[in-house]
Symmetry: D2
Subunit: 232 residues, 4 copies
């Protein structure tokens, strides 16, 4: 039997991409779509609070906005529904809330679900030897993207700060055209310029990662997991 999915942020770019993949999968099916732009009808809900589970045991995949993130987490915790989320722009309070919910339900949150970005994070862990270099993180995304820097860029920046054990200049963000997502890490001395660059070539890279994460998470015990965990 197929596992039911509640897709939050269903009318966004990522939501639509994930729905396409789920529709071509045998393991999952869409139970409800949630978006503030929907009317409440058979398959759609304006808000996750409008949903009555009636005994079903779905999962939530959430690519919505920071503004409703807290209410999604709380609803999942109260209803014991596993949560995969790629929503970015979160506050510290959101992260505390996430961690608390992880005591009750399995949660996988990641600012970027691609293999490549997670490889980049591994590479960053090797850079302590050049901590004297100057570093600069850049992110390029399409002009519809609301948050800047991207959640992924913030993750990479924090990884670098931890490894290099020093402050870094602010991430530089460019929003233009339909760029799927480019992230660059510049490391520069007086004599050398090293660039680690990741380019997403389509949106499927993230949507595929989200569905991959959902498969991995569905039978896990309560806890906060990362994409790194799922990729091991």
């Amino acid at each position: 039997m197929k596992k039911d999915i509640i897709l939050v942020g269903a009318s966004g770019r990522m939501g639509q991409e994930i729905e396409k993949i789920i529709n071509s999968e045998t393991e999952f099916r869409i139970l409800y779509r949630v978006s503030s732009s929907f009317d409440n009808d058979a398959e759609n809900r304006k808000s996750i609070q409008d949903i009555d589970l009636g005994g079903r045991e779905p999962m939530v995949i959430d690519f919505s906005t920071a503004g409703i993130f807290g209410s999604v987490v709380n609803w999942c915790r109260e209803n014991k529904v596993p949560l995969v989320s790629g929503t970015t722009g979160l506050s510290n309070e959101d992260f505390v809330n996430l961690e608390n919910a992880g005591k009750t339900i399995p949660i996988l949150w990641s600012s970027n679900m691609s293999v490549g970005i997670n490889v980049l994070r591994k590479l960053i862990s090797q850079l302590a030897v050049i901590k004297d270099f100057d570093f600069q993180v850049e992110d390029f995304h399409h002009n519809k993207k609301i948050d800047a820097p991207s959640g992924t860029a913030i993750t990479l920046q924090n990884d670098l700060i931890n490894v290099l054990d020093k402050d870094l200049p602010q991430v530089v963000s460019v929003r233009a055209g339909g760029i799927f997502g480019i992230h660059k890490i510049n490391a520069v001395s007086n004599e050398e310029h090293i660039i680690l660059e990741h380019r997403a070539m389509n949106r499927s890279v993230f949507a595929n990662g989200a569905v991959f994460a959902a498969k991995w998470l569905k039978d896990k015990p309560a806890g906060c997991y990362s994409m790194m965990d799922a990729l091991q």
Copy 2:
């Protein structure tokens, strides 16, 4: 007979580079070096006002800072001395002053004296056909550079605004390590990403351009000239 040069900003990176080139040239020789870090001695001056020309007819090559730019221009005008300047970070007032001085003396000011940047400016003039694309100018320079964006980036940005006839997002500036100077123009639609990029591979590129400009300017009538004029 060699033409005398007064080198303003002589203790800076560009000043030292220009002095090297002048010393290997047969056409010019250094008469005075000017820098606030100098003592007044036989060949050095703290300020251009400390110089007594005593009948000589030198040229000024100036790579100093915006703060003293006005006084350099005024001194040149009063003493009828031709001026080549690559000082950046100028105010509107500085440009007005420059233009007035151009009625009395020949002046060539350029934010970037390389051939390549001036080729880039020519390419920009062809971009009106993609005015619907999103544009983003970037500049990367060494961590000793004070002004951001670079004068060159501002020039490229203004060229683009004129050709595209629309506003553009602010120039993005990175300061790291010993980067000589990288400028990029991104033009992005939903389907295509065009990048025009210029990398200076050493400082000589600008210093050579400045000496080239001085040779070109030395016999010109009063007027405000650009590197584009000198390269025709």
Copy 3:
């Protein structure tokens, strides 16, 4: 009434992309698909010679392979059918054949139908001033692409040779993963490195261009046209 399209190379990547766009258009409809991998049935043909027009007046859009290009051109000429083609890897003989057919029917052939590549060609026309620089053209494409260098890279290379009036080193080609198409022109002196780069972000860029070209070509008199003509 919709204009009938015969799509040659219908089972290839570009063919499928073009069919999607045509199906979402009101101006065109698919009459026949042609591919050597098809059986002859109601809407499909193994070869263009299997088609009996029976009085209809379609156009051909062709993204197939060099091996059958000559027979496609000949069939179009004999049947007075306008032809839009983006097939690459053509021989000199193919180009002569194309030119002859242009005396009878309207033909638009282009190695690359994107706006951006045609802008790049305009920029190339401005580069004579740096003919002393070293030049290197590069192309990057997905690992399914058969010909190397790409037809687009050959076009850019030939444009450069004409403008610079000198020989150039061979185009460098990389085939890897799912890259849609990256073309770079490097111009390098001892002091400067200029890069003009074009990245296609999806295949629609070319398919859109092909359908755009078909609209433009359908009422034109006999002749050989380029994408530059269509974009004026």
Copy 4:
């Protein structure tokens, strides 16, 4: 007391750069320069065989050509002189010879002595997780460089082949203008494009590395060492 250096390949670009650094050091001094373009005079030799040590105990720093590499190694072994070498384009026979000599004298050979390239080698060791990606190594160097691919590119390529445990396409090499040295590793799937790039911004990066290596090597026991060893 300063350690004597015999500089082989002294009239080449790297040789001159190394001499500049040695002259500004307190620890080393030039005893002899060796180059086929020299006459035998007080400080210069046409060939290393022309040198009579007369009891002195120098080191050799060698940036010459593959053609004379064997004779340099043999001379060092016979005279018990430690050897730092960055000569590239070596044959298998040369490497066997090197290894044998390492039983008698300390030898550090590296195709690239920069910190950054050795960091890149560390990063490569993390890439097994994406062995399904397509890989392509590129190198860009100045138009005076004789060997292609560069020795560094071959080192990176071999590192990748070992880590990924699969064959790779040939390295792509560009020779243009005065590029100091750019190396890129592309890793590409259908959805992601990762680029690890290293740019040398001047020649000092290699010359500094060579002098650093000489300091490290001078008191070591016989053996074959790498730059990785020196950087630990």
